[in-house]
């Protein structure tokens, strides 16, 4: 009990979040669970991009392409080679991670700007590249994936808790994604807290200085690329499974862009950031469309146009505003808001007792 009482407040927060996500499908519909599955998948790929952009200071605008690789790996292995879909998820992650490693090698020679350019071009080219080997990828039509069914013991446990007759494949996928997301967040947390994380931040903040301190700059930068791609591959694989098919149009440039938006909005170089970013990027277009649709005074014509253009406009505006006013994203806003509140509360208490509040520097 002493351990529990001494644990920092954020552990309680983590526990609350986990309980929320574990309990969610028992109270919402199967369809709503599938929406939250998407959120979790976005959170995974954003976590990966965050390791790359936030911690190692390299940029990638091509994570949609890496997701495509993961998704197609799973689809092809399941569809052509009849592998169990569960086995394909780590294969997709590892394969994409290896590709990411090899992408990281030329990336070493490029400045941030050129890297952005090259990865952006990769994201644009990917859909047309996928169409080519038609035998393998199914060309424009893509590949359909059957919805995975829950294993018996999970089904039993779920029906016992909720009292519903059976667990849907959407609900099973949700729990699968949740388990993987938890594992990957835990992995990322350990990664950035220890030696690799310190090395990456040192490289980000001063490459020459880091090298002078004996950090293997090239090694860690390619490692960041590989790990980041591994996350994207896993997320891509789950993405394919959750939407039930993969096609070139599943992975447009805007997907890469959405992932980057999520990374930035959630907060660079933070662990809860990607989760917030995932929630935000997934729900923003849906909620804003619903809101605009529900307003009677907005003409129907505008509403239909907004469905297409709205997400782009709101992403664009948000991205610019966040970069200008809150470069640390939602997490930064929450942290500084909490500190401000704490300061106010403490200040009020100090005023009450007639003591001057302590200097902020010494707290």
């Amino acid at each position: 009990m002493k351990f529990l009482r001494q644990a920092p407040a954020r552990y309680a927060l983590v526990l609350i979040v986990i309980v929320f996500f574990v309990g969610l499908p028992t109270v919402v519909t199967s369809f709503q669970s599938s929406e939250w599955t998407q959120v979790l998948i976005f959170a995974i790929v954003i976590m990966g991009l965050n390791i790359l952009v936030g911690y190692s200071g390299q940029i990638s605008l091509g994570h949609g392409a890496l997701m495509a690789l993961g998704a197609y790996t799973t689809a092809i292995l399941v569809h052509r080679y009849h592998l169990d879909y569960l086995a394909t998820i780590p294969i997709a992650g590892l394969l994409t991670g290896i590709v990411g490693f090899f992408l990281g090698i030329p990336a070493l020679r490029l400045s941030a700007l050129y890297l952005a350019l090259a990865t952006f071009a990769l994201a644009v080219v990917t859909p047309s590249l996928i169409k080519r080997p038609e035998q393998l990828t199914g060309g424009v039509r893509g590949i359909e994936l059957l919805p995975p069914q829950p294993p018996q013991f999970v089904n039993d446990a779920f029906t016992a808790v909720t009292g519903t007759p059976s667990m849907t494949s959407d609900q099973w996928l949700y729990y699968l994604c949740l388990a993987i997301a938890l594992a990957l967040f835990w992995l990322a947390w350990n990664l950035v807290r220890h030696r690799p994380g310190r090395a990456l931040r040192a490289i980000r903040d001063g490459e020459v200085a880091a090298a002078a301190f004996g950090v293997n700059v090239a090694g860690y930068k390619t490692l960041a690329f590989a790990v980041s791609a591994f996350y994207a591959g896993i997320a891509g694989s789950l993405y394919g499974l959750s939407i039930g098919y993969v096609s070139p149009d599943t992975f447009p440039v805007s997907l890469s862009f959405q992932v980057l938006v999520g990374t930035v909005i959630g907060g660079l170089a933070s662990i809860p950031g990607p989760l917030l970013g995932g929630i935000f990027t997934f729900w923003l277009p849906i909620v804003s469309n619903q809101f605009v649709g529900s307003q009677d005074w907005i003409p129907a014509q505008v509403v239909s146009v907004f469905k297409n253009a709205g997400p782009a406009v709101s992403y664009g505006v948000l991205l610019i505003l966040i970069m200008i006013f809150a470069p640390r994203g939602l997490v930064g806003l929450i942290v500084s808001g909490y500190a401000w509140l704490q300061g106010r509360v403490r200040g009020a208490a100090e005023r009450g007792t007639g003591h001057a509040p302590p200097d902020a520097q010494t707290v």
Binding site: V53, G57, I59, L61, P106, R109, L110, S111, A112, L113, Y114, A116, L117, A118, F120, A121, L122, V124, V125, S128, L129, K131, R132, V208, V253, S254, F257, L260, V264, V305, F306, N308, A309, G310, P311, A312, V313, S314, Y315, G316, V317, L318, L319, I320, M323, I324, P327
Partner: protein, 293 residues
């Protein structure tokens, strides 16, 4: 042989479009060391404005300079409002901001003008003329001529006017220029305005061929990136030469390399970008980058 020449000529024409957009990228790169990911979208938006003018009965030859003026003003405003607050931020921030700008402008265009492709008038006729055995259309020749004129004008502005000198000075050595009384920040805004206008030219040249819709420039910008990188990203001449080379290469690859075809031309541009960045990062005309640590 005749067909080959024909492919080269039409490659030069598309290359002219890439060259103008690449030139716009180079202008902004020179002003502030930044690749503007929104350049293509800004050009697309300006082209839509031109179409609105033309639809209202303004003749093409009046709408053209008018659009350039609007694009120039738009570029200045964008620099003042969006870019200036993050001028000193790390490259990553700037890249993200220009990407945000790109989606914003793209979405705005979709919002205001819809996603249905529209035809855009061309000032040049589709008639062909025989040059050295190759049939070239006036359309192609016109595009080549316009990009040539734009390059010469930009060259004259940068090299032969006091304003051009101030522009170059402000980007090379901001501190010293400020001491000499050059308004550096406004010079950057001017650079954005110029780039925006040059980009608008490429948009108006591309629209008759590609049909005008909000995603029109999404592929063109990749070719322009390839052109700018190939030419050495800080060299205006390099951008134009790079644009023409990319245009011709992509066209020839599409016609003659088996398996490339029309849909993988973009991959050729991607290959050019990667090859240049890995093998010769300074491009054809760029100087070796020297970095103080």
């Amino acid at each position: 042989m005749q067909e080959f020449l024909q492919q080269v000529v039409s490659g030069l024409a598309t290359g002219g479009i890439f060259a103008s957009l690449a030139l716009a990228l180079v202008l902004i790169y020179n002003a502030m060391g930044l690749v503007n990911f929104a350049q293509g979208e800004m050009a697309m938006f300006a082209t839509f404005l031109a179409l609105v003018l033309i639809d209202h009965g303004v003749s093409y030859w009046i709408a053209f300079p008018l659009t350039l003026a609007i694009a120039f003003a738009g570029g200045v405003v964008i620099q003042r409002v969006v870019i200036r607050p993050v001028e000193r931020a790390p490259v990553l921030t700037l890249v993200i901001v220009t990407l945000g700008l790109a989606t914003l402008v793209n979405g705005m265009a979709g919002f205001l003008f819809g996603y249905v492709p529209r035809s855009f008038p061309s000032p040049f006729s589709a008639q062909t003329v025989n040059i050295l055995g190759a049939l070239a259309s006036f359309q192609d020749l016109g595009v080549i001529a316009v990009s040539g004129v734009v390059l010469v004008l930009i060259y004259l502005l940068l090299q032969r006017t006091t304003l051009g000198l101030a522009l170059r000075a402000a980007s090379h050595h901001p501190e010293a220029s400020r001491l000499l009384g050059i308004r550096v920040s406004w010079m950057l805004a001017l650079g954005w305005g110029l780039a925006s206008a040059v980009g608008a030219v490429s948009g108006m040249m591309a629209a008759p061929i590609l049909l005008l819709q909000p995603n029109m420039m999404q592929t063109v910008i990749i070719y322009a990136f390839a052109a700018a990188v190939l030419g050495g990203i800080e060299s205006p001449l390099g951008a134009v030469v790079g644009g023409l080379i990319v245009g011709v290469t992509v066209n020839l690859a599409g016609a003659y390399v088996p398996g490339v075809g029309g849909d993988l031309q973009l991959a050729v541009a991607f290959a050019i970008i990667i090859a240049v960045l890995v093998l010769k990062p300074n491009g054809l005309f760029g100087r070796a980058a020297v970095r103080r640590v």
